[in-house]
Symmetry: C2
Subunit: 373 residues, 2 copies
Amino acid sequence: MSFSWDCAATDGRARAGTLHTAHGDVETPVFMPVGTAGTVKAMTADAVRATGARMILGNTYHLMLRPGADRVAALGGLHRMIDWPGPILTDSGGFQVMSLAGLRKLDEGGVTFRSHVDGSAHRLTPESSIAIQEKLDATVSMALDECTKFPATGEQASDSMALSMRWAARSRAAFLPRPGYGLFGIVQGSTLRDLRLASVDALTAIGFEGYAIGGLAVGEGQETMFGVLDYTVPALPADRPRYLMGVGTPDDLIGAVARGIDMFDCVIPTRAGRTARAYTSRGVFNLRNARFADDPRPLDAACPCPLCTRHARAYLHHLFRCEEMLGPMLLTWHNVQYYQDFMHGLREAIVRGNLEAHAAAVRARWGEGDDPP
Amino acid sequence: MSFSWDCAATDGRARAGTLHTAHGDVETPVFMPVGTAGTVKAMTADAVRATGARMILGNTYHLMLRPGADRVAALGGLHRMIDWPGPILTDSGGFQVMSLAGLRKLDEGGVTFRSHVDGSAHRLTPESSIAIQEKLDATVSMALDECTKFPATGEQASDSMALSMRWAARSRAAFLPRPGYGLFGIVQGSTLRDLRLASVDALTAIGFEGYAIGGLAVGEGQETMFGVLDYTVPALPADRPRYLMGVGTPDDLIGAVARGIDMFDCVIPTRAGRTARAYTSRGVFNLRNARFADDPRPLDAACPCPLCTRHARAYLHHLFRCEEMLGPMLLTWHNVQYYQDFMHGLREAIVRGNLEAHAAAVRARWGEGDDPP
């Protein structure tokens, strides 16, 4: 089978579709929970599946350091190691490496860095990143790029984008085609329209199974991010999936889906789950707040997760107060469930052709906030 | 329905039976996972059930401080709060309070102590302990006792036991009889035969739905503990369940079951699960050990838990090395599964009448250790 995406419906620029992969189909728009080091933090693979999630993300940087790509390969690849037979997208490792600041050095060939774990020296090139992702058995591999810092001067943004495009060509050349597997290129160019469009041209000339938009959600703000999407997304091939990396809040997702994005990943739901922040149909709550200590109600009456169907808010508050592991476990599950149901709702609205009205209703419920006790 | 225990089979002094309670039946011998503060640490209630566990323990001391007995009652009791409709046994709170050393003061009426959480002053009496356990909706409540320190002089042990017996009578008087609920008295008397037998006499004169043996597993050693069981258990009423508190290792459980004990609780499987110690049919392994880094085998091929059926030892090693929460989650699940299957095996052997041979075979497998890689 070939890796492909087909469109089931559109509503304005928004698209509902299906991604076909060697590891199964995925309905889009899709939110991929982040499984950094071979685990969606605080969740079993069964729990992730139970939320309806069908595709997750793994971090090449973390996995290449621990347990190491060869070790993952020896265990039969990431899918078998972590018990996730469904599609897995891995990033290139570049984003984390670039974030190491003093610990890394960039050149034309690639990037040399020291591990944050033990200080050992490593080098990541387009070729080695692709080779690692192949060993991990990633369903979707990402081209190595430089995530342009923000803010950047025009020259910095231009040079950085050009480097990423040369690396994209090398990534493409290094990628071993396998049925149902894909390689995505990453559009860079900061917040500059000409650079973004030049980057799209460069990538489409190379040709990828999907196109990601990188270098956003790095401090530019939602309005600017949406502005970049407004002119970048329409330039991308209509028949390929579009992935907005590292985004975002539910409100970010609405805006990006409306602008034609199909795929997302973000640590927000899982990180928030470990810090007592709950994403709900009535907005975001901090469960450490004393007002929840005696609250017998479910966290979110609209949610089918084990936390919301079986426990009181007061219990979750208690678990976080006692620093019991079950607090993060249950709230992470809930947050991932919320994100999955939320994305499913957006998809259904696109199919019905009323995304704008649906989004307005969702936002209105957020705005209402919690019912009085 | 009345709270009762009936015997299905005996093998020597060992007994297989069924405990009938307001919250369902439980086959004995039974191991109760410890749910200290309203959660079996690192496990969802569904996961606990999936191991075959049918009865768990809650700690009155922890629950009275957080979230508080009135709060638990307002949430519908412990069963509803934590999503465990099955039987729950709560301890009296005495054991934890006595362990507070400098923070507590004992008198005839009860014990005054300061919370380890916030230093606030509290008092626990036989009457207040029973009232708290009633608010928690404990299926089995425990009489307040003083867990005699070890070693103790004869006078200390005698005085302490006598106090516990006076408290047992007050606990009995304070306990509100409810169909299917029970109160257990606790035999004390250190390692002194006359005191233990006098304690049994005192408790049976009062009359309880079950009898616990306390003050063991506090440093006296397995041989001494078994010696106390040898003369204490036969003195207990044959038609009531017998509970050895806070015990123990799998090897302890074999010896205690063979001596006629029906019920156990211990933090070993859950605590070990958080510290990378695995209980298996081949003995105890420390999964942090580097020899597991490349080990593709299941932790215990004989185990049906999600860890053993779906993951390699190398993955578990990786999770602990990265301090991922999933490590403790999966290994706690496994250890609780191991304890449940182990107890089930003992029960089956009693029914078949070959406990001794079964125990010898189990011990022989432990002794074999791990297969070579």
